[in-house]
Amino acid sequence: MSRSPRRLDDAGNTGLFVIAAAGALLAVASVVVTASPGGFVDVRTAVAFAAFIAFGELVRITLPGGRDAAPIATAGALAYTLLTRMPADDPDHGALQVVAVCACAMLVGVGPHVVVGRAPSIDTLARRLLTIGVAAGLFRGTGLDERAMDMREAGLAVVMVAVVVATLCVDAVLTAVVRAGADRAPFRAVLRNEVVAQAGIGSAIGATGALIALAATIMGVWALPVFVVPLLLTQFSFRRYAAIRESSLQTIRALSRVTELGGYTETGHSRRVSQLSVAVGRELGMNDTELRDLEYAALMHDIGQLSLAEPIPGGATVVAAPIDQRRIAALGADVIRQTGVPDDVAAIVDMQAEPYRRAHETQRSEVPLASRIIKAVNAYDDLVGDSPEVSRHLEALERLRLGMAYEYDPTVVECLSSTVERASRLGV
């Protein structure tokens, strides 16, 4: 899923601002406290973990769904937080030292990325640091670590798991705050999305952090190099998965333009429809999977026109007879079923020409939300094109409103018009 549109709104996102500021404040405060005389303990261990975290930050990845993540760095930071016993000498660093070490290591690891112009967004860094701060506060700030020293191994493992789960929850909430603000999506829908996303990779990262801490009780800092190899392998799998997802999306975006090249549709039509559809879908609280299907369907919604002998004048399906619209939709769905995208995408395209409510029908028809969105957005774009004139936008919206409750879904049209108005206010 492309996240590029969300950056447009970042300026007005208070959640993001608060989190970034809090993260920076925490980093500075903990570095100052730790750097004061007598504040920094167990230098050798700290340096080893800092190196591990910096390395993890260096090899950070973008997860499918556009989430920026540094699994190795996060696991290392969690491990440093949960570290209670070492073979030579039990570490007794405080919560603030954990944050200070992580902050410095992250800066070092991010450095090369900044140099080549791939700096991660400030909110992801701040969020990671705050999350670690919470974990460190929970474990080392409350004396839990002292008590854990006396526990049996199994008990220690339970305490560690509890801290990790709490940390994951905090991370999900912080991410949801930023995203809900940036995407103008309902907070609950975003939070649900984040929790689902965290459940898989987040729990694996958390488990790895706990494992490193446990293994370090015997292996000392040697646990770190031993862990790096399998972790890199795992991350490699993820990176490749994310890369092929991205290639798929790029390819479908690119190939969706063949209808333009053949003169079937106007230049930029499918791309505009997909961007606007995704914005509307996000605001209506769709989850990541639904949004991806929506984007694919919107990009390929006119692919059925390739099977027409002659292009429709101007490519605007909104002026075609309903029966032709449905035929194009069905032909397109046939093509899409042959592709490797999920079958839901074909179903969405198939239903895109169905009116919101058919005549003589008392029951609400089962048209998927994604199809209703594409229907409205497609009509809107057919009427407006890439014209910048405000009057045309208003006319188009007016025409959609006239068709509301029968042809178009009122909720979708309202959401569409608020999205369009906001975009024109921002001058996009």
């Binding site: 446990l214 799998s237 592709t339």
Partner: protein, 453 residues
């Protein structure tokens, strides 16, 4: 399933005979020092992971899960215990024929013996609080020995069964799976550290903690494989949609892609470039959609304007696919696939070596396919007629090296585009080397595919 050749039968017999006494010796010599609880727990885990995965597939999980457990055995139950446990995999649930299971368990036992010997020779011992970093060297060496023996024996049987030189099989099987092997072997060391009473002492539940990251890795791997297949289908289906415009070119893109890959293999192109070329061949005509249908299907000579619109199609194709990042080299191939060696081609009139290699390959494949299929103005030519024609134009229009490569490839494999495997497995897959080397077209070749762990 084909019967095993005689030599292969001897090989299997030798391996089984060599391995058979080992568990007995191990049981006699090592019995007193064995921790029964650990042995039973590890044995159960080993059989369980082996069974689960045998039923699933030959993917990452296979290597990951069972090699994690088996490499954890060394520091936990010592050399004799490891050998004994390796032989228990013979009772794992496995739908494969009995003889195959026995062979697999035998080669695993021999590999375990090699690992145990190496471990002991280098001073490897059970885990103690002061074991690290000293235990790392014998452990890594033992992993290496295990990998070597296991790989050699599997490569041996595959080589005898398929008649491929052992070196090639060994290369194909081993080269890519070593990182995965060592990586997950190290996970085994961690399992041992967590499990061992003298270590972190978490006990067998440590396995559960370790399974989470492994499970996620496996999930990502499965997703990747699925997405890769989906991606292939997507490109193909969209190209089919584009081709609906011109009846005579149906299937053309796919055949050009297949022929390009044949050429690439003969000239020894690197595997990742071959994959890129495969997509380039598939997409080379995407720009044709910009050419009006009546021009494409016209029978007589073309006017200047019509010819110009045809000449534009490589550039229009590039316009479309330029944003697909991983196709970078393919883009040049598509843009220049109508250049001629003498510089009289289009769109840019490049000559000789200025024409990108991909473009020179695609040009030959493209011409070959259009000659051997029916067009609006003529019937299809035979393969040998097309070859003669290609050779005639080599030097002026085509790169002679590519023409000869195509001739060689078709002499060797024949040309039956419908049977050409449309989906080649991903090139850079370190965990799936066995599948790639043995799984190809022949379903029976799966015989010994999944036993390098």
């Amino acid at each position: 399933m084909n019967p095993l050749p005689l030599k292969a039968r001897f090989f299997v017999a030798a391996v089984v005979l060599a391995a058979a006494p080992l568990p007995v010796i191990a049981a006699i010599r090592g019995w007193d020092d064995l921790s029964l609880v650990d042995c039973v727990a590890l044995g159960l885990l080993l059989v369980l992971t082996d069974s689960i995965v045998a039923r699933g597939s030959h993917d990452l999980a296979k290597i990951a899960l069972s090699s994690v457990i088996s490499s954890a055995c060394l520091p936990l139950v010592g050399g004799w215990g490891t050998i004994l446990l390796a032989s228990t995999t013979v009772i794992a649930y496995d739908p494969q024929p009995f003889i195959k299971r026995v062979f697999n368990a035998s080669q695993m036992t021999l590999a375990a013996a090699a690992a145990a010997g190496t471990f002991a020779l280098l001073g490897g011992e059970a885990i103690r609080p002061d074991s690290f970093p000293y235990l790392l060297l014998p452990f890594l060496a033992a992993l290496g020995a295990h990998c070597l023996v296991n790989g050699t024996l599997v490569a041996g049987i595959v080589s005898l069964y398929q008649g491929v030189p052992v070196k090639i099989v060994f290369h194909g099987t081993m080269a890519g799976s070593i990182p995965g092997y060592v990586g997950y072997g190290l996970f085994g060391l961690l399992l041992a550290v967590l499990w061992d009473e003298d270590g972190a002492g978490v006990g067998p539940t440590a396995a559960i903690l370790l399974l989470l990251p492994l499970f996620v890795a496996r999930w990502a791997y499965a997703q990747y494989a699925e997405e890769q297949r989906a991606y292939d289908r997507t490109v193909r289906a969209l190209m089919t949609a584009v081709e609906t415009k011109d009846l005579y070119t149906r299937g053309h893109s796919e055949r050009v892609s297949a022929a390009s890959v044949l050429i690439a293999r003969v000239i020894g192109m690197r595997e990742d470039r071959v994959q890129s070329l495969r997509y380039a061949g598939m997409l080379h005509d995407v720009g044709k959609l910009g050419v009006p249908t009546r021009v494409l299907q016209k029978n007589g000579g073309l006017t200047e304007g019509e010819f110009a619109s045809i000449q534009l199609h490589p550039v229009q194709g590039v316009e479309i696919i330029r944003e697909i990042e991983f196709l970078d080299e393919a883009v040049a191939g598509i843009q220049h696939h109508h250049e001629r060696l003498d510089g009289r081609g289009y769109p840019m009139g490049l000559a000789g070596d200025d024409i990108p290699e991909f473009a020179r390959v695609i040009a030959v494949a493209d011409a070959f396919d259009s000659m051997t299929t029916t067009r609006s103005y003529r019937g299809a030519r035979t393969v040998s007629e097309a070859m003669t024609e290609l050779r005639r134009c080599a030097g002026d229009q085509f790169d002679p090296r590519m023409v000869e490569a195509l001739v060689t490839a078709i002499d060797e494999h024949g040309w039956s585009p419908d049977e050409t495997p449309a989906y080649a497995p991903p090139a850079d897959e370190p965990f799936d080397q066995e599948a790639r080397a043995f799984d190809h077209d022949d379903p029976t070749s799966a015989l010994f595919r999944d036993r390098t762990s």
